[in-house]
Symmetry: C2
Subunit: 230 residues, 2 copies
């Protein structure tokens, strides 16, 4: 029996086109349109170039564009984006677990590899890693079919004293930030008892492994937490 057709099939895209789709996905997913300038800043190119590219992606039916009002992924576009996100996250786990990278080194490398990863390689890595569900930074791996497990989570900076929470996700893009979080033990799965903070821009005070930690707001805002499961 053949494998089912991928949800995200279609003509192959260029590197730049894929980057635009992924940026659109990472910015607001399918929740609301992304302004041209936002996208341009994210990609580090001019708004004019983005405008151009969006027109092409729109012709391909991957993006819907509302003149002067921004752009948003279509279903097909989202499928392609999730394919890339799956590649990216599988590669991050792979680089950490198989090649011994640290979690602050993997993003950049995955960013390049994700565009040339075949389906065969994706499947082999997925199996080798034991069908993982989360990447090293706590992000869920989209399924082959492009579905994504969603978990209720909020920023640590929004927590109140007395709460018991578990670190769920951190952003993978800033190596310095990641090293800082690692130094403090603020890694996915870490259990925190929030003591205080949240007022007057003061750091979040919490207990982690019987140790008192003070998390500056700037850090706390990048950490997403969830309820403990037990």
């Amino acid at each position: 029996m053949d494998l089912p057709a991928r949800s995200a099939g279609g003509p192959s895209l260029t590197r730049a086109q894929e980057d635009h789709l992924k940026a659109l996905y990472n910015l607001h997913g399918d929740t609301r349109p992304v302004l041209t300038g936002e996208l341009a800043q994210r990609l580090g190119i001019s708004a004019a170039s983005v405008s151009d590219m969006v027109a092409r992606l729109s012709d391909l039916g991957l993006v819907r564009h509302d003149r002067y009002r921004g752009q948003i992924l279509t279903g097909a576009g989202q499928g392609r984006a999730l394919e890339l996100v799956r590649h990216h996250r599988l590669l991050e786990i792979f680089l950490v677990q198989v090649l011994g990278y640290t979690w602050d080194e993997v993003h950049e490398e995955a960013e390049l590899l994700e565009h040339v990863m075949s389906e065969r390689m994706e499947d082999r890595i997925f199996e080798l890693l034991g069908r993982p569900e989360l990447d090293p930074h706590g992000h869920a791996i989209p399924s082959r079919e492009g579905t994504l497990r969603v978990v209720n989570q909020r920023a640590l900076s929004d927590c109140q004293g007395g709460e018991e929470v578990v670190v769920a996700e951190v952003s993978d893009e800033d190596p310095d930030l990641l090293r800082e979080l690692d130094r403090r033990g603020l890694i996915p799965g870490a259990r925190l008892s929030v003591i205080g903070g949240t007022k007057y821009e003061s750091p979040i005070e919490a207990e982690l492994n019987e140790q008192r930690v003070s998390v500056p707001l700037g850090l706390a805002r990048t950490i997403l937490v969830r309820e403990p499961t037990d």
Copy 2:
């Protein structure tokens, strides 16, 4: 202590530029110039495009071009090419040994990955694989510094009855050919006692693992053999 500077450093090249360098290397290495048409055929593009690209690579000092007489890699160009060859061959071993690919599946994939492989990844894979010296098809891995172990070898089709030889290398580019060779046990390291052939275009007859094998000339020409080492 810092690592020594790579022999092959320099400004980063585009995919197409790298493909041209590698094709030049694979065609005649540094032995003699490659004709424009040859290179074009190898790359599957027009001679005009090659002419163009060679001019640019020549400006970069990677290729020396003799009008109407062909082109050859400079020292620097050869360094870059060997860097890519190292990437390619390490990836092939990696795909076979770590991800469970068969030897006929690896070439195409390595062809894409080699262009986006960082030095860090190269080093990690090299160590993970135990500092290998040969890829799955028997080709030597260039060192980081761009040196290559050369072994005396010739085509199986040139062997005479009575010779004892060992399969050294086979081309990695044709999956069908590779499957055929595998089926017959004609893999690097296989020891052959040549019985006859070499006349009237007849197949090479030989003994392999106590079994009589008949190797059609077309196959025998793609197999490089060396003297047994013991």
